[in-house]
């Protein structure tokens, strides 16, 4: 086949700037071949190289005594005691999901699961954070159906419980939805597998499904803004097969037990190219690949297509040659391909052979380590203007408006499409707050949450970044867990715009400060930039996924309010209404500053909850929607009414941070009050649970009516 000539147009289509192309010429001292251009484009795109974000990501706290492996590998690894580790990461699949929602979301789940099991961990929990456009935008309904079915279709078949997540709607996502997939797995701390190749002349083995033309150029597509040619990009989306992934999981875990694996890396973005370069670069070795040996499912694939295909459910490993027969037998047992496709070499070369011809011959280390890195210009986000007065509202009317909105209505329409109980270790189901999964065969448990309030981040990136981490900390605390570590999925617009880059820098600062103060280091993450369509950026959305540990599942806080329980608020209520849910949903105003986050108070209040968990029957964090929404949600889950003494809008709907709502008996409340006095933390009785009505100040409604509204509102719009 005649390969296309290298023209400025072809270079631009590969997402490479003129300066980047000059750099390629400088590195190799000649014009690249078509395949080589594709390889550079795959390695140097934003998605794979983090070229705009690296400088700032380096500032995040990534270390701690609990951290076994921080960012840089497929996923982060954190010690959970007894020689066990939790391995986790969150990753976006935004662009593919917008183009082809079912497959885009499904392969997002598949990719993050592979990131976890390529390190030797069996996936035990998944979450998904989803951001869609306005509910009444013509495209939203189809995206919601497709994405939710895709997540369920993949995760349910693979057999990992989906135990949490978020679903939000805002017009800023009309042209660019966000699908952030989280997965966590369990491994023995001394049996973690890494990607660095070692040893010269070691066989490089291709594992899993066959290679097709799907997803060619996907990573480059994911690094560009959208415009009206988006429909033409559908073929760049990969197609997933969870049945193959399930077999790949079992085969890889069996293979790892044989001792045959020197290093292993999943083929994700930019497939064979990215995985081979990673393994070689980390091991300071070269890699030679013979593409005629790659298992393919389509005829006459070119070297370019094979190197850039993003076909799913594939792995690359460096094999201990003495154990080749054992390794091959495992893959035959699971009916998966196993093919030696190359070897490690001593020279710094990435040598690609196909049909007796050299298709690429590049200095391997230059593809990875010296990928471009930019210090993009950025401007500080201007301070938000003062919040104009917010009128008082009848509190029940305010509550109704919130729970009738798809943003705050019950989401069972979504999470009942996900298997949340497979593996029979789920001990706290999705619905309210963190999901909790038992560590199989032990009495330990892990708690999972994902959080961010994009309105806050837009108004004030630093406080918004802090708030996302603080809310994750509170959600883990509210189930009795000790927060362990964090993964961040940074979704932003075009980083070439200084104001967008300013949002990114601010959010990183806030996240870094909060992770340091709350002892939740960042151990993995993903950056998704260029989330813009026709120049319109999304709300800055740094999704925080966090994991907490319960050393005994008996410490789980999972009760519900009972008739006669008191309602107490831990933390100070000032009535901050800027950027609140009430302001946005009822008054259609997104104004004012984000609530300030006092990280020391967060820490004190979290420690207080954990220290006194025996007096706390039910607990939830207060976040957007404030006390009114949290109290209603707890009451609704319990099927018991609630009376809140306050009737004024700031007290009920304010979104001050570092607060929890606690429900417990009168006797326990007394004990808590004494303890709070001694600890110097603010704790106040704000009402009581009981009856079958919801009272706020002088306003009231039957719980059953509100419950019907809350449970029906989402399906009303989307079913």
């Amino acid at each position: 086949m005649q390969e296309p000539a290298i023209t400025p147009d072809l270079i631009a289509k590969h997402g490479l700037s003129a300066e980047e192309y000059d750099r390629i010429l400088e590195i190799i001292g000649r014009e690249p071949s078509f395949t080589e251009l594709g390889i550079f484009s795959a390695m140097w795109n934003e998605h794979c190289s983090y070229k705009s974000s690296k400088k700032w990501l380096r500032t995040l706290p990534t270390e701690g005594p609990q951290v076994i492996c921080g960012p840089g590998e497929n996923a982060g690894v954190v010690d959970i005691g007894d020689g066990q580790a939790v391995v986790f990461k969150m990753e976006s699949h935004n662009h593919p999901s917008y183009i082809e929602p079912y497959q885009g979301a499904a392969t997002g789940v598949g990719g993050i699961l592979r990131d976890v099991f390529t390190m030797g961990a069996r996936p035990i929990a998944a979450m998904n954070a989803l951001s869609f456009g306005s509910p009444d935008h013509p495209k939203t309904r189809q995206l919601v159906h497709g994405v939710v079915e895709g997540i369920g279709g993949y995760g349910n078949c693979f057999g990992v419980p989906t135990v949490g997540g978020e679903v939000r709607f805002h017009p800023a996502y009309n042209g660019n939805c966000l699908v952030n997939a989280f997965a966590a797995g369990l491994a023995d701390a001394d049996k973690i597998f890494y990607s660095a190749a070692s040893g010269v002349g070691m066989p490089v083995v291709y594992l899993g499904a066959k290679t097709g033309r799907d997803g060619v150029g996907g990573a480059t597509m994911a690094s560009a803004e959208f415009d009206d040619t988006i429909e033409q990009k559908r073929p760049t989306v990969q197609v997933g097969d969870p049945f193959t992934e399930k077999r790949l999981l079992e085969a890889c875990l069996e293979l790892m037990q044989t001792g045959a694996v020197i290093s292993i890396q999943d083929m994700g973005a930019a497939g064979l190219t990215c995985s081979a370069v990673e393994m070689g670069d980390k091991g300071r070795l070269g890699i030679k690949l013979e593409l005629d040996r790659v298992p393919v499912r389509e005829d006459a694939m070119s070297a370019y297509e094979m190197m850039l295909s993003e076909s799913q459910e594939r792995m690359l490993m460096v094999l201990n040659p003495e154990l080749e027969a054992e390794a091959k037998a495992v893959f035959e047992k699971w009916d998966l391909d196993f093919a030696v496709v190359g070897e490690t070499i001593a020279e710094d070369r990435f040598l690609i052979l196909h049909g007796n011809a050299v298709k690429a011959d590049l200095p391997l280390s230059k593809l990875a380590s010296t990928a471009p890195e930019y210090d993009r210009p950025w401007v500080e986000t201007p301070a938000p203007s003062e919040l104009a007065p917010v009128p008082e509202i009848d509190p029940i009317d305010g509550l109704r408006a919130l729970i009738a909105s798809p943003n705050y209505a019950a989401k069972q329409w979504v999470y009942e499409q996900y298997d949340s109980m497979v593996m029979a270790d789920t001990i706290r189901n999705p619905g309210l707050g963190a999901g909790v999964v038992r560590v199989h065969g032990t009495n330990k448990a892990l708690a999972f949450t994902s959080d961010v309030t994009p309105r806050y981040v837009k108004a004030n990136p630093v406080e918004g970044g802090k708030q996302a981490v603080a809310e994750a900390y509170r959600n883990l605390t509210a189930v009795g867990a000790v927060p362990l570590a964090t993964t961040d999925n940074m979704n932003f617009g075009n980083p070439e715009k200084p104001e967008i880059m300013g949002q990114f820098v601010g959010a990183i600062r806030g996240i870094g400060a909060a992770c340091a103060a709350l002892d939740m280091p960042i151990v993995s993450g993903n950056v998704s930039l260029y989330n813009e369509t026709d120049g319109q950026g999304i709300l800055p959305t740094p999704t925080i996924g966090a994991v907490g540990l319960l050393t005994s599942a008996d410490d789980l806080i999972d009760g519900l309010p009972r008739d006669g329980h008191l309602a107490l608020v831990l933390g100070e209520t000032r009535g901050h209404l800027g950027q609140s849910a009430l302001l946005a949903e009822v008054f259609h105003r997104e104004e004012g500053d984000a609530p300030a986050v006092d990280l020391e108070a967060e820490r004190r209040h979290g420690d207080f909850i954990r220290a006194h968990r025996e007096w706390i029957d039910a607990c939830t964090d207060l976040s957007d929607g404030g006390l009114a929404l949290a109290a209603f949600e707890l009451a609704e889950a319990a099927g018991v009414g609630v009376t809140l003494d306050a009737g004024d809008t700031p007290a009920l709907f304010g979104e001050d941070q570092a607060r929890y709502l606690i429900s417990c008996s009168y006797d326990k409340a007394e004990a808590l009050m004494v303890a709070a006095g001694q600890a110097g933390v603010p704790l106040a009785t704000v009402g009581r649970f009981g009856g079958d009505r919801v009272w706020m100040g002088g306003s009231e409604a039957p719980l059953a009516d509100l419950s019907a509204l809350y449970r029906g509102a989402f399906a009303e719009v989307f079913a």
């Binding site: 079915e149 369920g152 279709g153 349910n156 078949c157 693979f158 057999g159 097969d241 969870p242 049945f243 193959t244 399930k246 077999r247 079992e250 047992k333 699971w334 009916d335 069972q412 999470y415 009942e416 499409q417 996900y418 298997d419 949340s420 109980m421 497979v422 593996m423 029979a424 789920t426 001990i427 189901n429 038992r438 599942a553």
Partner: protein, 222 residues
């Protein structure tokens, strides 16, 4: 007491079922789908939930043709006990060890939630530890759980007291709210709900545990 749990390449509730059997006092052996024989001295074969062969073609259809299915049918023909959960129930209908078929849920969507079942018969080794008519909470998690059979089959199932469990509110469109059925000799049970997911206090309830203790008591007393 000895139980075998079949493992198809896409099974994903095999471990869960094995744990529930073990907690009820069974020795459990996992049996690979490419095997052609079951271990000797078995009391019961469990066919677990999951997506046996990716649910390609029809759920359970390819599993019904797998190498192990001959041994499964022979075990049942000898009067051995068989227990199929979810995809296991689909496999048992595809192997014709149980009548009828499981179609796509009436609402077209996958459903995972805890639902209430009524125990319709205590006249089986699977259900004798329940009180007749007891209402129990058991999770479902399926996309194809809509039980359908022809009128004659349904009449026989009812007439012979072979409906083991009914949903209080059928979430999936099942005829006559059927959630689980017994074979003619009452030794094969297939059900869509997952009792192994509601068998320990940590699961939030233990209504499923009695099914496994029923079995172990029946086998001890047999």
């Amino acid at each position: 007491m000895r139980a075998a749990v079949l493992v198809f390449p896409g099974s994903n509730c095999d471990r869960d079922l094995a744990v529930a059997f073990r907690n009820a006092g069974f020795d459990v052996e996992m049996v690979w789908h490419k095997d052609t024989d079951l271990p000797g001295g078995l009391d019961i074969v469990g066919v677990p939930g999951g997506f046996s062969y990716g649910d390609y073609l029809r759920c359970g259809a390819i599993a019904a043709q797998s190498p192990i299915s001959g041994a499964l049918k022979a075990h049942a023909a000898r009067g051995g006990y068989v227990f199929g959960v979810c995809n296991g129930f689909q496999i048992l209908t595809e192997t014709r060890l149980l009548p009828g078929a499981l179609l796509q849920n009436a609402g077209v969507k996958y459903i995972c939630k805890t639902v209430t079942l009524r125990v319709e018969t205590t006249d089986s080794a699977f259900t004798n530890a329940y009180a007749a008519g007891a209402e129990i909470d058991i999770p479902i998690a399926h996309h194809e759980g809509n039980y359908q059979a022809d009128a004659d089959t349904l009449a026989r199932l009812r007439g012979e007291d072979r409906v083991a469990f009914r949903y209080l509110d059928a979430p999936n469109g099942s005829t006559d709210r059927i959630a689980g059925i017994l074979s003619e000799n009452r030794r094969v049970l297939g059900m869509m709900p997952h009792p192994e997911r509601r068998a320990e206090p940590a699961h939030g309830g233990t209504d499923g545990a009695a099914l496994f203790t029923s079995l172990s008591e029946a086998l001890v007393n047999a």
